[in-house]
């Protein structure tokens, strides 16, 4: 996507959902727009239903944690197959209050992707029809992809490796 097109897109988002955009960048030629958390649902709805932009296809939805580890985020990859334009919508929020409206009412396919994000990061999608763990066991009480849960230290020596050659 070119810078011109990105400017047009941010302009039309600003026109329809005022004050929603936090920043818009173009890393590796991929339009990336960061949206304030309060406006995320409105913006997604606008992008899908607007006649000009019509991002009708949700390619991917996933979570991430910001570098300072104090915030969680959700990233949406949208695609308009007719004009072949892709856009990445990001939002972020406090790790202690990870709540965001669901996108399942816009794209039914967001269902399992949101469940996966909840499973890994503990993001609560408000209004999701069936928000429970999907890949991990139901009894798990942590959100494993958060940085506060590191992988096991490979140098640890307190484990008896008589039975399991480590």
């Amino acid at each position: 996507m070119s810078q011109d097109l990105l400017n047009k897109l941010t302009e039309s988002i600003n026109l329809n959902v005022g004050g929603a955009i936090e920043k818009a960048e173009l890393p590796y030629d991929f339009a990336t727009i960061t949206i304030h958390k309060e406006h995320i649902h409105e913006v997604l709805e606008f992008l899908k239903n607007d006649k000009n932009w019509n991002f009708h296809f949700l390619t991917d939805l996933t979570g991430f944690q910001t570098a300072d580890e104090k915030q969680l985020g959700v990233v949406y990859h949208l695609h308009n197959m007719i004009t072949n334009i892709r856009v990445r919508i990001k939002t972020h929020f406090d790790i202690n209050k990870p709540e965001i409206p669901t996108a399942t009412d816009i794209w039914p396919g967001a269902n399992w992707m949101e469940r996966e994000t909840f499973d890994f990061y503990g993001v609560k999608f408000k209004g999701h029809p069936n928000l429970k763990r999907i890949l991990n066991v139901d009894e798990m009480d942590i959100f494993p992809l958060r940085k506060e849960y590191p992988l096991e230290d490979q140098q640890r020596e307190d484990k008896d490796d008589k039975m399991f050659g480590r």
Binding site: F30, D60, F64, M81, R88, L151
Partner: protein, 404 residues
Amino acid sequence: MAKKEPIKNTDDFVEEKEYSILNLGPTHPATHGIFQNVLKMDGEIIHEATPTVGYIHRAFEKLAERRPYNQITTLTDRLNYCSSPINNMGWHMTVEKLIGAKLPKRVEYMRVIVMELSRIADHLICNSVIGVDTGAMTGFLYIFQWREKIYDIYESICGARLTTNMGRIGGFEREWPQKTWDLIDAFLKNYPKALQEFANLLERNKIFMDRTINCGPISAEMALNYSFTGPNLRAAGVDYDVRVATPYSSYEDFNFTVPIGTSGDTYDRFMVRQEEMYQSMDIIKQAIKNMPKEGGFHADVPDFYLPPKEEVYNNMEALIYHFKIVMGETDVPKGEIYHCVEGGNGELGFYLQSDGGRTPFRLHFRRPCFIYYQAYPEMIKGSMLSDAIITMSSMNVIAGELDA
């Protein structure tokens, strides 16, 4: 529980329906993988299905956060293990995009050959398994040896057959031996005949057609809403192919047709995959014909591509590069990348956040199976149990990719 009187005549049957619960899976011979579906059945009609996934979840996204970039290839092998080379190449291309490597045309053409071969392997397994599930075992047994022949080609390139770990960031690990080219030539020469016989067995077979037409259909609109990609979306009538929409690895140089279906049922999915195999062979032929003679088998990226062993022993610079790559100490630029390739069953995407360190800060695999399997309960609602089985095999759900 109160003891029931035996039913004397049919008038004694209660009007109120009682559904039976059937647990299909997790290890069921007909599901070809570990999927559990709890079905609420009325006789043989499925009323409701609740799928449970995650039986072989291996936390790849977490593991990837500790591994250097060149060690993640082995994780991608195990996503869709029917077409591992596509996953490998997709991952290499993602990293190359991040570091800005420019590849010789020859490497890109070699990659196209490997990716199309693995697409054939993936599709032929899927299609022959539809045959098995409808009761035609012969086609499966007959066509399966051609997958072995494709695996022989992989073996001559990289030494492995199933989980290939093929190629390196920047190209291939070595020049392909003459044997590889001979095997590819032999495959291209003999496979169309075998595929034609397989097609004769099933494509216009009355029993097969009755069994698969209108079985597990999905409309184009619903398929788009459920984020379908790949042959399943094309069978529903949407001509979206990543190779055409966002060409990678020089796919824009090739001339091929994207087959599409109309009704999105099992028969259309079968036919789309059949035609794609012919198209893939055509692409391989074009790639061999137009293959540039010059260019070598790797790009000039010393930070990521291992130097030849003789140089490591005799040359200080090469030794340093070798050490840094093996220890995974090469830093990459900061950035955010989404790269997608047309995998065996859809758009396989890699979303990578790099903070400049030796490992990815966040890596997410967009796994087509995981995304379209959620539409499965909707697709089988109201159909017979046996239709549900062939719907699943025609969707080509691969457990490794589903659970990551």
